[in-house]
Amino acid sequence: MDGTLLFQSLVLGVLLGGLYAILAAGLTLYFGVMRVVMIAHAAFVILAAYLAWWFHRETGLDPLFSMVLTVPLFFVIGVLIQRVLITRLRPATLTMMSVLLTFAIALLIEGLLGLFWSGTQRRVQLSYSGDNFEFFGARIAVVKLIAFGLAVLSLALLFLLMKKTRFGLALRATIQHREAAQLVGIRTDWVAGIGFGIGLATAAIGGTALSLDATIYPSLHWSWIGPLMAIIVVGGLGSIPGTAIAALVLGVGQSLLQVELGTTWAQTLFYVALFLTLMLRPQGFFGGRLAQRF
């Protein structure tokens, strides 16, 4: 591998890692706050990508504008899923049962996508779709950079929300000690509901970013959920900075391996990282204690 190619892969890896980070942030949030394994997260990402594509086709406007509708919509859906469905699961078996419940939601979304828009592959065509520019010898597609910018911006907002707002304080307290949070007057059930809504809102942002640069089809979410799950475990469940770091590292790793091994084998990096993490450091490499740090 020569220097230019290496640098090119590195840059692409960072851009990819940014997208992974925003897609995985929601997952780690659900687990951190509610011990919910949200299998349907990637399905919602693909749903958002479809909505962006559809919005563009129907209105002719840039798919990025679809977020004005999808972000609030997903937020509300998230709150409802938590308040109406997740709270009915028995606390003792919540994590296991949430896998089944959200697996069903994922299948439902996949089925509905096929029903409305068929199994045909779809892709957004934009005036700037093919544009790229040179960056110290590396070629960067404009759409990838936009997706990356969107991811970084929303992660920064999420971080500020967690660290600087009263709601963020309540959410962190709920994650760290739910009963003690109740005893200082935090309505932990609503905090969990809103936390779930925020997680799903990040799926809307991530899906829109994805739609700029990916060919989408209803079952695409299955190839995303595995790597995303691996990222949140490597990053330390519940830790947003941990997730971001793990996403970048694995994104870059995948991008570099792709050059030598091809796309399919490069994907195995996630599962190798997952196994190594579970064997050596089950609490995650960047999160410290399970689901407590932010």
């Binding site: 304080l169 760290q176 003690a180 200082v184 007057g185 309505r187 410290g288 204690r289 407590q292």
Partner: protein, 257 residues
């Protein structure tokens, strides 16, 4: 210190701050843990619940703080009936609950922990006043203000929890096994702090495994067995009772020399 509370200053006429009246409570479909439990906490008093494991001591506190709704019976705080209300409302009516074991928010600073105790308060001047108060009552809290709470020792964490619970200036503090897992020296400090809380004007309902030590600190004692109060009275009298000592406190009363 216990004696000065007792020589003629027990106030039977004063309205108790917390009353649990004939309470039945339990978890899920399992059998009732509390079966007709009644207990009263008068102002400026430390009331201690002792009794064997599984007698329902912690459950009493959970009912009082709203974490567990009673199936039957009444909870009255300072004259008003608050039966069946959740933790938020209980907090508002002046009950603060310090849980068993460690319950600090580990990945937050001491400052964030203490300020979370004032989560339901809006008045900044009032919050600052309370911060000054708890820092004076628990000096260690002020000294470790900017440190992560999870890194403090067990006894220090307990004091952060005490400080957090006092932020709302509660009428009654409910303490669940505050000495659990602490070494004897730290335990002594914690019990001193409990007396200081009372002297600062907060009534205390205390649950302790370490029964003898707790009764030495408390003004009144209740012996719980099978979900109800078996015997109650001034703590010193319970301590002196030979039969009680053998049954519940592990061994004979200490000589009062």
């Amino acid at each position: 210190m216990a004696s000065e509370e007792k020589d003629g200053t027990t106030r039977p006429a004063e309205r108790p701050l917390l009353v649990l009246d004939d309470v039945y409570a339990g978890y899920g479909r399992a059998a009732m843990v509390l079966r007709g439990l009644s207990v009263k906490v008068p102002p400026r008093t430390v009331v201690c619940l002792v009794g064997p494991n599984g007698a329902g001591k912690s459950t009493v506190l959970k009912v009082a703080s709203g974490l567990l709704r009673p199936r039957e019976g009444r909870v009255v705080v300072d004259g008003s009936d608050v039966t069946g209300q959740g933790p938020q409302q209980m907090l508002r009516s002046g009950l603060a609950h310090v849980l068993q074991g460690h319950s600090v928010f580990r990945e937050m600073t001491v400052e964030e922990n203490v300020l979370l105790g004032a989560y339901t308060l809006r008045d900044r001047a009032r919050i600052a006043e309370r911060v000054a108060f708890v820092q004076e009552l628990f000096p260690i809290v002020g000294e470790r203000w900017k440190q992560l709470a999870g890194l403090l020792s067990g006894g220090q964490q307990k004091q952060v929890e005490f400080a957090r619970s006092l932020m709302i200036d509660p009428k009654v503090v409910l303490l669940d096994e505050p000495s659990m897992g602490l070494d004897p020296k730290t335990t002594a400090t914690v019990f001193q702090q409990i007396t200081r809380m009372r002297d600062a004007g907060t009534a205390v309902l205390l649950v302790e495994q370490n029964a003898r030590r707790a009764l030495e600190t408390a003004d009144l004692g209740c012996v719980l067995d099978l979900g109800r109060v078996h015997i109650s009275g001034p703590a010193a009298e319970l301590l002196a009772d030979q039969r009680l000592s053998e049954l519940y406190l592990g061994g004979r009363p200490r000589s009062t020399a």
